[in-house]
Amino acid sequence: MTHPKRKRSRTVAVGILGAASFALAGCRDEQVTAQAFPDLQSCRDASIASAEMSASDCDAAFAQAQELHVQSAPRYDSRELCEEEHGEGSCGTEAQAAGGGSGSIFMPLMMGYLLGNMMSGRNGFAASQPLYRNLQGGFTNASGTSTFSTNAGRGNMSSSQFRTPPTTVGKAPLTPATVSSRGGFGGSGGSRMFGG
């Protein structure tokens, strides 16, 4: 067999950061500043005093959120099921809520949108996201992966919130839960460490 002359790496990763900080070092997504608006007008109003965005940014973001809403809002096969997730009066038929489609598929009404700075033009990301009511009186995104207490205000959040949600158009209506269980790994090994 042939062997390289030098037997060791030229560089190595030198440190261990630990589970918490390793996530921060890159496992966790970067943080971006995001603002939520209940409707287009409140965004435009805010843009007058803002150096970061213009009214046309608001228009573009709102249009994109609406597009994602049509493509990706959770679909339910009954109004009842939809209202169980989003609260009474927060749902409509696909025909009503998305301006076209089925009268027997139900989806939540868009109750605002989340606008992320610097997220436009990145593959797999959208600069804005539709917001929906949740049962707790707060708001959630299309994939249901995060909740917000309000649909107005600003804060820092993970850039993953701006990932384009998986499309639900033409697919079977979603069942209410996204995560059906946790903790199904690790039980057989007891509490010892596993390496050897």
Partner: protein, 389 residues
């Protein structure tokens, strides 16, 4: 191979701590011990460790190919019946392997002997790939080692290359280990660094926080779908977990692949002996229930459970009498194999075991651990090595 006393690098403990190598001392004993180091010649490394270990991995792949075709062998290796297809399919699909570590008895005189293959969840990757390397570079700089001294340690570069070979750039990989185990975690983080260097995204999630989506895909602690999962958690345990039924339907790509359950299993050793009897790097090995005790070398045997880590539940029997037993018998209820006893060399009161690292299908580095006891356990010490001559 010789053991040489060397001055320790001044301030290495503070450096280790700063780097997050928090287990350099364990249980009040040194784990990383640089008061001495093992010296090898280049020829010894290449002809007695590197090439034999690469060949052993190829033999193990042949053994895997045989085992998946045999219900009887699958049963002897205690692969749960419900999941034999998972193991079989992973082999037939050619699911690629990432890494493994052979433990070899090597004295520099005769051929190195395979003690076992940590093919599924090998740890001590940080010590081997990274801290050992820092030690060498530091000692070269201090003049303790000489210009031209080297180390058999291409592990990190090989891992980066392997990730690049297996995954597209920007692919998102998940890594998991049991929570609160710093030694296990260190190995996982090393792999995460290598994956990132290769252009992938690396995400860590504690093992018990993994969930299942309503569409049957695994998700991490932030409910993000897991496409590829590196798990520092043995297949033999995973296949007995509630989520085992969901692995195949989920479509998740597993590292190590399911067929590694056949190689990290001590039942591999008798299968290798059946297939390659007399191979210079193998010791006679048998399943306990049909052991040929009259075979040469079987007057002194090591009895090992199919599944065991850190030297647990192992006994040494000489002429029928148990002469040494490891205190932890947590694996004792498993079936056992018998392997001819091969003494480890004794160097300055300690017995070294050579860990030969495989990345992909080639041996790319080594790390040594030594123990006072004849059974290497979790109180053993990690020893650096260098190549001169």
């Amino acid at each position: 191979m010789e053991k040489i006393t060397l001055p320790e690098r001044p301030g290495w403990r503070a450096q280790a701590e700063e780097l997050g190598f928090t287990f350099a001392d364990m249980h009040g004993e040194p784990y990383w011990d640089e008061t001495s180091a093992y010296r090898f010649t280049l020829d010894e490394v290449e002809t007695m460790i590197e090439d034999p270990a690469t060949e052993l991995h190829a033999m193990c792949r042949e053994a895997a190919a045989r085992i998946v075709e045999s219900e009887e062998l699958m049963a002897r290796l205690a692969i749960p019946e419900a999941h034999r297809d998972l193991v079989r399919d992973s082999w037939r699909r050619g699911d690629p392997e990432l890494y493994g570590r052979f433990d070899l008895a090597h004295d520099g005189q005769g051929p190195a002997k395979l003690l076992e293959y940590n093919a599924d969840t090998p740890t001590s990757l940080y010590e081997s790939a990274s801290y050992q390397w820092l030690w060498l570079e530091g000692q070269l700089e201090l003049g303790v080692l000489h210009a031209g001294d080297d180390q058999f340690n291409g592990i990190h570069e090989a891992l980066v290359a392997r990730f690049a070979e297996l995954f597209a750039e920007d692919e998102q990989l998940h890594f998991t280990a049991v929570a609160g185990a710093p030694e296990d975690y260190a190995t996982v983080e090393m792999l995460g660094w290598a994956a990132r260097e290769a252009g992938m995204g690396a995400h860590y999630c504690d093992l018990d926080k993994i969930g299942l989506s309503d569409e049957g895909q695994f998700v991490d602690d932030e409910s993000r779908v897991i496409g590829t999962l590196f798990k520092l958690y043995p297949w033999e345990d995973l296949l007995r977990d509630p989520y085992a039924d969901h692995v195949a339907p989920s479509g998740v790509r597993m590292l190590e692949p399911g067929w590694k359950a056949l190689l990290s299993n001590k039942g591999l050793l008798p299968v290798l002996w059946q297939m390659f009897e007399g191979h210079p790097n193998l010791l006679p090995s048998f399943f306990e229930d049909d052991a040929d005790m009259d075979a040469p070398g079987m007057d002194r045997v090591v009895r090992k459970p199919l599944f065991s880590r850190e030297g647990s539940s192992i006994t040494i029997r000489e002429n029928g009498a148990v002469t040494e037993a490891s205190p932890d018998d947590s694996y004792a209820h498993h079936p056992h194999i018998l392997q001819a006893y091969h003494p480890l060399p004794v160097m300055d009161g300690f017995r070294p075991v050579v860990g030969a690292w495989i990345v992909g299908q080639s041996c790319v580095g080594m790390g040594l651990r030594e123990d006072r006891s004849r059974i290497t356990q979790d109180l053993s010490r990690f020893k650096p090595h260098f190549i001169r001559g």
